[in-house]
């Protein structure tokens, strides 16, 4: 097993759904050095800034998106000793309870995988070029960025 495989980063931006089990398998298979795998999945909630939400549309800046996510993962790798990292973000139209984002991190010991995963999400939330428009009875409304997300990213 080569070092590059061990330290593999996978970034995907797609309209299709993803499968947690398949992503977990890629983080785990042939990886006997890592004792910890942390996964995060973000889902479309039925209630948000515009009240009751029936779905949302995710716009992004295609030329920049993957580059931005790869840089965030590199920043995480410079802070923690982690193994494999996968980041998948969906774009386009999504319904309530659908999966939006997946972050998976493996590491030898648990703390690194926990912290790197949360760090990647906090930076994704404030730096990666995605914008959500919520669908509700009132019509479509752009989601406004939360100041608390800025604080979370700054606290690392």
């Amino acid at each position: 097993m080569s070092l590059s495989y061990y330290k593999q980063t996978v970034i995907r931006v797609q309209t299709d759904d993803f499968n947690l089990a398949a992503e977990y398998k890629k983080l785990r298979d042939n990886n006997p050095k890592d004792g910890a795998i942390v996964t995060f999945v973000g889902l479309v909630r039925d209630f948000n800034q515009s009240g009751e939400v029936s779905g949302l549309f995710l716009e992004h800046y295609p030329a920049m998106t993957e580059k931005s996510l790869a840089e965030i993962v590199d920043q995480a790798r410079s802070r923690w000793s982690i193994g494999r990292v996968t980041v998948i973000h969906r774009v386009g139209q999504l319904n309530v309870s659908e999966q939006i984002v997946f972050v998976g991190v493996s590491s030898q010991h648990r703390q690194e995988a926990f912290h790197a995963n949360e760090f990647i999400m906090d930076f994704l939330k404030t730096q990666a070029p995605f914008w959500k428009k919520e669908n509700s009875k009132k019509g479509d409304t752009w989601v406004q960025a939360k100041v608390t997300d800025q604080y979370k990213a700054k606290n690392w």
Partner: protein, 86 residues
């Protein structure tokens, strides 16, 4: 030519998602984000407010930058609201 892009709510407010602009405008070169922003702010009704410093993020060639960032002819400059992915 500078390639200018707008995303998210900003795109809706400005009623355009992309435009091209000569790097040289009359009596000045738009060689920083700040100069480009100020030029755009005078272009249409309402743009003054929508493109205020602090209200929008700016990326030059797909990298987040500050207002002082130097820009060159043929750069891609994107203006957008604070991001809301995840």
């Amino acid at each position: 030519m500078l390639k200018i892009l707008f995303f998210g709510q900003l795109k809706d407010m400005l009623k355009t998602s992309a435009l091209e602009l000569d790097w040289q405008q009359d009596n000045q070169t738009l060689d920083t984000v700040s100069k480009l922003r100020q030029y755009l702010q005078t272009k249409e009704q309402g743009w003054q407010e929508y493109l205020q410093v602090g209200k929008v993020l700016v990326a030059v060639n797909q990298e987040l930058v500050q207002d002082e960032q130097v820009i060159s002819d043929s750069d891609e400059i994107a203006f957008f609201p604070p991001v809301t992915g995840g």
